[in-house]
Symmetry: C2
Subunit: 447 residues, 2 copies
């Protein structure tokens, strides 16, 4: 975060009140998604790296403090506390690239109440974005069935931060490369790109444009649909004849029209001319459904450039993600509002596998001993991240691939799994919930 | 932009090729939305301020240049050019807060081809985000019919940049305040907020939580739905009796459940207790349709907190926005790909009004003399913004309100206007298009 002020005003009013009341016992907050979007069988957890960096580096500058003071809303006690703030708590989290389901914590923050409260907005903002993006991108990658997918979405992602972090999340999810140079520089993601219609338009003649471009970039991909796609392919063939052995173009790119018919005909034209090694790259408003449809129709497409729909997670541009107090001063906490039932206390997710395939998750109390592989582990202690909490991006990507390989195949498909993957609540956790509910009812009906 | 590298790789490969070919004549690129989303009758132009700042400040640092060089893809000529880059062109644009329709330019860049090409990705990224956000937020504001709308969306907006810029765009569109402190600091937008469920949960008793909170913030809004909404309202009433004249709570906030029934019953409880001045603030998964539905059912709600659906423009999280070459070296340029027909040359949008109400727009050639109010004006010359290009945010907001007041009422409604607002193409512009198409066909069929 470039600024400590990326937070909701109410974080500060609450902290101000907590400080004035002396409420600084240990709290546990759980970050999770309440319900999955209709067309998501699972989430792919992502964004922990940025969340930990935020927690480690959050400080209030003199300028920020002066501005907060100028609002005239806050106590001197709060402003002093913010001036010396650094996060001193623990974080338990699932590794990035782990598939998760509704109600399962992506991370839990254990810290004095005011500290844990203060970081709510920014933690959600960062983990939500990347988990959203990875959970969409993995669908496109699955649909492409091993063919490379390139992220072309930066221009219509929501701002600069999204342009950068969504590219990272998509790479974790299996996207091969990004057109976004900043993501390439910052995260070492391979960068890729072709050419624009404007390049062709700027020349008086399409063939002249191709000729000029391959002079500068011999092993490029030529965009052939500026005027007439198949005419464009024929010009590539003509260029190949002109150049002979110097012709090293790797692919043609189709960006509009009936991609099934055009890819078949383009393939035929290329093959007939002996250009069997020139690949076909498709783009233009693609999403996972369109990629699946193209391949179901045997479109001879070798790689996909996917932009806006993946970049903004168009069919589900937000997750119902929450950061909820589940424990304070050693006691489980709940909220009972209609339709928003919580489970109290710190938790663990246990994934039971059989023959290398996950068969169910059990949502349990933290520390409960049960079968299955525990997914949450401690990644930060006393405000400092543990060394193993930040693997290199390629390791996160490999972890995602391995974890996806353990999901039942129905869960990895684009359509809703019937029945959905089972997530059960342990007997102990269910009992804990009943107890907290009973206590709350007792308290609320007390005189 | 924090980094010059927020761009697609192909911007640089194209510029590299342009430089090697000596293609540096003047180009005009037009930024527009090809098609409106199904449930948008118009766009509200926004984001120009950030676009101009980007153009004025875009520079490549030594570190960025070194990284680009390390890719081994670019010519020394390109790297030298980038090292000395500053944008030297002109920009014509519609003022922020102006309603626009499909195909109408939000802005046009006139600059040497490599310069105009280089800035494509970041310009779209910024103008797209804010125009998207303003075009959604204005619907919520219209639905609320004069009742204040507060932006609560930062936590699930797509990253930090979105959190900041969407708050700005929403304010332009008429949203009263934001919960986002950063937007408050950066843009002077009023900040607002209430309290969280976690605050209530952290106390052993809801009434104790309310009591403590108003001790610190007497004129606050109390969140009453943590356990049982109407019980929560009764506790507010009890608190009012306890405090007598010291009770200064301004509102109760309902965040879940059947808001029609709950708001009626809450109003009744408050009024019966003589708390007629305590307002009802509603939130919880609201969008323009839900706001309209609540008011159609006469829900006695005084203000709305709207979060995710508005913040990510949930029903249309992207616009089909493009930045297209329309003129190079004095000649109109087109692209003919299926379904993506363009109009050549620089343009003007003329809005014809009758009795203060817009009746149609005419898309014309730049400089064409026709009736109607021209919407595009020069905002940057030779790389420097003109003084009048950056009005204060409150002036932009007032401009939006005035311009919205000139739209036909059917266009301002939530449902699709039938017929849609007419946008005609001038005879001269139509003729220019025919001519460019004819030239292209001639060229493509030449031997």
């Amino acid at each position: 975060m470039a600024s400590a002020l990326l937070m909701d005003l109410y974080e500060l009013t609450m902290v101000d009140a907590y400080l004035s009341e002396g409420l600084h016992d240990e709290a546990a907050f759980s970050l999770f998604v309440r319900r999955l979007p209709a067309r998501r069988n699972y989430l792919l957890a992502c964004g922990l790296e940025q969340a930990l960096t935020y927690l480690e580096t959050l400080r209030f500058s003199a300028e920020e403090l002066a501005w907060l003071e100028s609002l005239g809303r806050f106590s001197r006690r709060l402003l002093d506390w913010l001036e010396h703030f650094h996060f001193s708590g623990d974080v338990h989290a699932v590794p990035e690239g782990t598939p998760l389901f509704a109600a399962e914590p992506l991370l839990e923050v254990i810290a004095p109440l005011p500290e844990a409260q203060l970081v709510e907005t920014a933690l959600i903002n960062q983990v939500h974005l990347q988990t959203l993006a990875a959970s969409k991108a993995v669908r496109v990658v699955e649909a492409a069935g091993g063919r490379p997918v390139v992220d072309f979405g930066v221009r219509r992602m929501h701002g600069e931060d999204a342009g950068l972090e969504v590219a990272r999340a998509a790479h974790v999810a299996g996207v091969s490369a990004t057109s976004n140079l900043l993501a390439g520089q910052r995260y070492g993601i391979p960068v890729a790109g072709t050419m624009a219609h404007s390049y062709v338009q700027a020349h008086d003649d399409e063939l002249a444009a191709f000729r000029a471009y391959v002079r500068r970039f011999p092993e490029t991909t030529l965009l052939v649909d500026t005027y007439d796609t198949l005419e464009g392919v024929r010009k590539v063939v003509r260029l190949a004849r002109e150049l002979g052995p110097d012709f090293q173009v790797r692919a043609v790119r189709l960006d509009s029209g009936d991609l099934v018919a055009l890819s078949h005909e383009a393939r035929r034209l290329l093959d007939t001319a002996g250009l069997v090694h020139v690949q076909i790259f498709a783009s233009g408003g693609l999403d996972e459904d369109e990629v699946a449809r193209l391949l179901a129709h045997h479109a001879p497409i070798d790689a996909f450039g996917v932009g806006t729909a993946m970049g903004v997670s168009a069919d589900a541009p937000a997750l119902d993600m929450a950061y909820k107090l589940v424990e304070y001063a050693g006691r489980g906490r709940l909220k009972l509002s209609t339709g928003k039932v919580l489970l109290p206390g710190r938790k663990q997710v246990l994934r039971e596998e059989e023959g290398g395939v996950a068969r169910r998750d059990v949502l349990a109390r933290h520390g409960e001993v049960l079968p299955g592989r525990p997914l949450l582990r401690r990644v930060m202690h006393a405000g400092r991240r543990l060394a193993e909490a930040s693997p290199p991006l390629e390791a996160i990507r490999a972890h995602a691939r391995a974890e996806l390989g353990r999901l039942p195949s129905a869960v990895r498909r684009l359509e809703p799994a019937r029945p959905p993957y089972p997530v059960d609540v342990s007997a102990e956790l269910s009992a804990a919930r009943r107890q907290v509910v009973a206590e709350l009812h007792e308290a609320s009906h007390a005189p």
